[in-house]
Amino acid sequence: MKKIIDLNIQEKVYKSKKSQISILNNFTLEVNAGEKISIVGQSGVGKTTLLNILGLLDVNYKGTYRLFGSLTDDLNASQLAQWRNQKIGFILQESALINSLTIEDNIKLPLLYAKSSENYREKDFENITNALGIKSILKKKPFECSGGEKSRAVFARGIIMKPELILCDEPTASLDIDNSERIMNLLFKMNEDFNTTIITVTHDLEVANRHEKVIHLKRRT
């Protein structure tokens, strides 16, 4: 199997004026293409920090990170942004929508940063919104939609570029059982259809256990 993530964090330090906190000490993670992994753990252990690092949002840590075979230290800020656009999809909580944009504009946001040759993905928009059942809310603003509708919109935005790696941050946190089920099913269908690698941070053990691997992050004692 092709290894797409090879992460080795020696230390990640958060500094404040009075103190500093060190997390994810000597943490390693290897992920193969198409794997489904969940990350669980108490608040403050570094779940979101890990997702930030995996998603190329945070590069300030001691260690090395090889993604899709390339050392991320070798990538400049523009290349990191380009990878976030084309190779990584973020599926976040339903609040991660821009309120001044319509649902359609929110979903199409990644296309704005795509290379012109990637514009064919515009066609995928139709299929994705159909599959998610959100055609009727495309012209609405986020505040006019229900929590479930917004979650599906965030989901649609996360997959519209057909990323190789999907990072999910509490994707079902504010959803009822039906909507939660719907989102997770769609996520795993992506995995089946396109061999997309999925890493999910969650507090929900039921959701976590649906993944192939569950990583428990614990505070160092």
């Binding site: 979101t48 930030n52 942004a81 656009n85 976040l92 821009i98 946001l109």
Partner: protein, 407 residues
């Protein structure tokens, strides 16, 4: 370009209150800089002009403000006695203007006559674009064609070499004027009592006066001529004697200021006021810039989620920096255009009001000092723009792109 268009139309312009308040604050800063730059340049122009006149050995007359003056009480003999004394004992520079005449012209503008003697003409010449300079050694009789310079605004109606028959307001009789030269556009003289203000001669006729002309002129002209007369290359003793002659003949007390006294006066009043204006402008400018930065930081706080989401899906900081510079570039451009139109309209207003002393010619209605002030505004905009954008980016980077921002 599509990313920039997206941010302008879908992010910034959706925050109407923030965008309007930033625009308003920046306009205030721009207007302040514009007015200060133009006033200072105008004062410097006036100062340069007066420097030509305020030479060592020259004394500039000034009516003592405590003098009581009753125009009806003066007799022609009295004023002529003073001029006789001046002619015999001094070299003097005389220029007086503002004598309005009804002279038909294409713009239906009131025309002002200005009278200059040879010494003043040498000291503070009028620049001409066509024709020849004035000459002063003409013999004054009823058949003479007096050579005159005319403003650009009159040159179409009265081209070079043409003659004008008119009732002269100071001779109070018909005379013939011959157009000897056309003044350069926007030739001006500064008001020596308020250096930042000036009078333009685009609709003026400048007549050369000699002793004979003065002798034939009315009291009003002779008195006005005395009020700002400049005595050249003379001494304090001789000036004191002149003061007595004026006092004896007209009952008026005149002050005559030396070069040093004039410098002291300018230093005391103009440079101090210039300093105060410069300090006040700088302080206000800094306050407005601070408010603009603060306003921009508030907008960052309100839009941080929008920026973060965009950073998630492919925006980079370098692209965001370009977007901010483009956005502020547009705001500054709108302000510059607004300033341009306000200034152009104000200049055009002088034409509408037929305010002959202030009408000017310029590129798109703006004269040199306006363009200079706009250039200063542009430079200040570049500085403010760099300050605001870099502080905004520093603020955004301080909150790292992180999932945490959205939680």
């Amino acid at each position: 370009m599509k990313i920039f268009k997206f941010f302008i139309t879908k992010i910034f312009l959706r925050k109407v209150v923030i965008t309007s308040s930033v625009l308003l604050l920046l306009f205030l800063a721009n207007y302040l800089v514009f007015i200060a730059a133009r006033s200072n340049l105008s004062v410097l122009q006036g100062y340069k002009e007066i420097k030509r006149i305020n030479q060592k050995g020259n004394f500039i007359a000034n009516l003592n403000p405590d003098s009581d003056m009753d125009m009806g009480a003066f007799k022609k003999n009295d004023t002529q006695n003073v001029y006789n004394y001046l002619n015999n004992n001094f070299k003097y520079a005389l220029f007086t203007d503002g004598f309005i005449v009804s002279l038909p012209n294409d713009y239906d503008m009131e025309v002002s006559f200005g009278y200059v003697n040879e010494e003043y003409y040498k000291l503070n010449p009028f620049e001409i674009s066509q024709g020849k300079n004035l000459y002063f050694d003409y013999h004054f009789d009823s058949d003479i064609e007096i050579p005159v310079l005319i403003g650009k605004g009159l040159s179409k109606t009265y081209p070079l070499g043409s003659t004008i028959r008119i009732d002269d307001p100071v001779l109070e009789k018909p005379i013939t004027l011959k157009v000897q030269g056309i003044l350069k556009p926007n030739v001006y003289h500064s008001n020596f009592h308020a250096l930042s203000s000036k009078q333009y001669y685009n609709f003026s006729v400048i007549l050369p006066v000699n002793e004979e002309f003065i002798k034939n002129s009315n009291i009003s002209f002779q008195l006005n001529g005395l009020f700002d007369i400049i005595l050249l290359q003379t001494s304090k003793d001789k000036i004191e004697d002149l003061g007595k002659v004026i006092q004896d003949n007209l009952g008026l007390k005149f002050n005559f200021y030396t070069q040093q006294e004039n410098y002291d006066y300018f230093n005391k009043y103009y440079f101090n006021s210039l300093k105060i204006i410069a300090i006040a402008t700088t302080v206000l400018f800094l306050i407005i810039t601070f408010l603009s930065v603060w306003n921009s930081l508030v907008s960052i706080r309100l839009m941080i989620k929008d920026f973060t989401i965009n950073l998630f899906v492919g925006l980079s900081y370098s692209k965001l920096r370009k977007i901010f510079y483009g956005y502020y570039g547009i705001l500054f451009f709108i302000n510059l255009i607004a300033l341009f139109f306000i200034t152009a309209y104000s200049r055009y207003g002088n034409w509408l009001r037929k305010d002959a002393s202030f009408v000017t010619y310029g590129l798109f209605g703006l004269i040199g000092m306006d363009w200079f002030a706009l250039l200063v505004v542009l430079l200040s905009d570049i500085i403010i723009g760099i300050i605001i954008v870099e502080i905004m980016l520093w603020r955004i980077k301080k909150v790292p792109i992180s999932l945490g921002v959205l939680q």
